[in-house]
């Protein structure tokens, strides 16, 4: 017995460490930071820039040569920011951004009294949403076509209003707590230790993991960048309002960026999926597909990308899928989320909502 003691002790230690690791990964939760903070500085910059552009335009009537130079210098948000930021933004849109800034923490007030809602649509002065259900590749796909007056209405929220590890809640529950008209699950940042987490203009995690990050800018545009190229703080300075670290990018400049067989490393087959895409500035599509059921097979990333391309999407990004894939519209879960073989919601770390 004594000669076996070292072997027994080692096995016990290995087992204990593995159990601890499993609990640490899947069970123990940790709250790192209270969420709810909103940084709308990028909208103020847009507003100022837009006013400057209008001034320049007025001056151009009398002094065209001088104005041209001003317009060129005024087309940048901040040093190092993207050129396209200032383009095509009306003073109405930027004003909506700052309007939304004041109403950002009180969503219910942003739902105008003149809002018209049905099972498949929602309209008010700032937001227009049309929900459609289609079937492609033997899979039910739910598409929410979203047009916003400002990107400030495209918001994100954490489960239990807390940024942390293993802090989860159902998408519908988080949506309800935030008075969301439309919500989809986010990137499930809580199960990753790295990858940028920028939400509502605030940097929660600035550790790069060498992956593509989806950036939604204050001007309502969307871009996929490498997190090796910019720090999270630089992205915010450049006008990033929301950033997600999941991926991969599905479409860039209207072209499919995933191969037919080159799936995301760990998911080779069809599955429920969640994706977000941009058709034009402040014109987005939220897409959720069913899967893992007898009615719906699910989509491969290539199929998802092709489908989004058919919608006219220019930039699209894959968010957390599988059991997490959920779309909530007007308080109702519209898709069929699958968890453990049953049709029910799974807790997630975060949502994207209107």
């Amino acid at each position: 017995m004594r000669k076996h003691m070292p072997a027994i002790a080692f096995r016990a230690a290995l087992l204990a460490f593995t159990v601890f690791l499993a609990l640490d990964t899947f069970v123990f939760s940790a709250s790192y930071r209270e969420a709810g903070e909103v940084n709308t500085a990028m909208f103020s910059v847009l507003s100022t820039e837009s006013e400057a552009a209008e001034e320049s335009a007025a001056e151009s009537a009398t002094a065209a040569s001088v104005t041209k130079q001003r317009m060129l210098s005024g087309s940048r948000l901040a040093p190092g920011s993207r050129k396209k930021h200032g383009s095509g933004l009306s003073s109405d849109e930027s004003a909506a951004g700052t309007d939304a800034e004041s109403g950002a923490t009180k969503n219910s007030s942003s739902l105008s009294a003149a809002a018209a809602a049905s099972d498949t649509s929602y309209r008010d002065e700032n937001v227009s949403i049309t929900l459609t259900e289609t079937e492609e590749y033997g899979t039910k796909i739910y598409v929410a076509d979203v047009t916003l007056r400002s990107a400030a209405f495209l918001k994100t929220a954490f489960a239990n209003n807390t940024y942390g590890k293993n802090v989860t809640a159902n998408t519908s529950q988080i949506a309800q707590e935030n008075n969301a008209v439309l919500a989809i699950n986010g990137d499930y940042y809580g199960v990753q230790e790295k990858g940028y987490v920028i939400r509502n203009g605030v940097v929660y995690r600035g550790t790069a993991k060498g992956a593509d990050v989806l950036c939604i800018y204050a001007d309502g545009t969307m871009e996929v960048v490498s997190d090796r190229a910019y720090t999270a703080e630089e992205l915010v300075q450049n006008g990033v309002w929301q950033a997600f670290s999941f991926g991969p990018a599905l479409l860039e400049d209207g072209s499919v960026t995933v191969g037919e067989n080159s799936e995301v490393g760990r998911a080779m087959t069809s599955n429920p999926r969640t994706a977000i895409g941009m058709i034009d500035a402040n014109h987005f599509v939220f897409v959720v597909s069913d899967g893992r059921s007898s009615e719906s097979e699910g989509l491969s990333l290539y199929e998802l990308a092709s489908f989004m391309k058919s919608l006219g999407v220019k930039t699209a990004y894959n968010l957390d899928g599988g059991g997490s894939s959920t779309m909530v519209f007007n308080g109702r879960v519209v898709n069929n989320p699958t968890t453990g073989g049953a049709i029910k919601e799974r807790g997630v770390s975060d949502i994207v909502y209107i």
Binding site: A7, L21, F26, V191, R266, G322
Partner: protein
């Protein structure tokens, strides 16, 4: 049958069982993984196979046996690598990470060094026997 031969056969059977267990476990886990896969899960069985079964068979064919202390460190290293590989596979398939998973290969590597040191010391003892 000598004690060392019994020890080697026991080691071989243990490693064979571990190989089959990890191969079966990985296959079942993958089958229920909705097509989400991990090479760490699929090939976890390779550690007991390559580090356990193959050397044991070779030693038995040659009619030689490993030292008891060497076998302790070597078996512990195989266990550390295999369990670490399976756990990494579970994390991959779930889509999560934990930086502490690096402990398995580090501990496994240290145990391999310990085992090889035992082997070296034993061979030196045999080369220079004490009178």
């Amino acid at each position: 049958m000598s004690t060392s031969e019994i020890r080697m056969k026991k080691f071989l059977l243990q490693q064979l069982a571990a190989t089959l267990f990890f191969a079966f476990f990985g296959a079942v886990y993958e089958a229920f993984g909705h097509g989400v896969y991990s090479y760490f899960m699929i090939y976890a069985f390779a550690f007991p196979l390559l580090m356990g079964v193959l050397p044991a068979v070779m030693q038995l064919i040659r009619g030689k046996a490993f030292d008891r202390v060497f076998l302790f460190f070597w078996t512990a290293a195989i266990a550390s690598f295999s369990v670490g590989s399976v756990f990494r596979g579970v994390l991959d398939i779930y889509g999560t990470t934990n930086s502490l998973v690096v402990v398995y290969p580090v501990v496994g590597g240290i145990l391999v060094l310990c085992a090889l040191s035992c082997l070296l010391l034993r061979s030196r003892r045999l080369a220079f026997p004490r009178h």
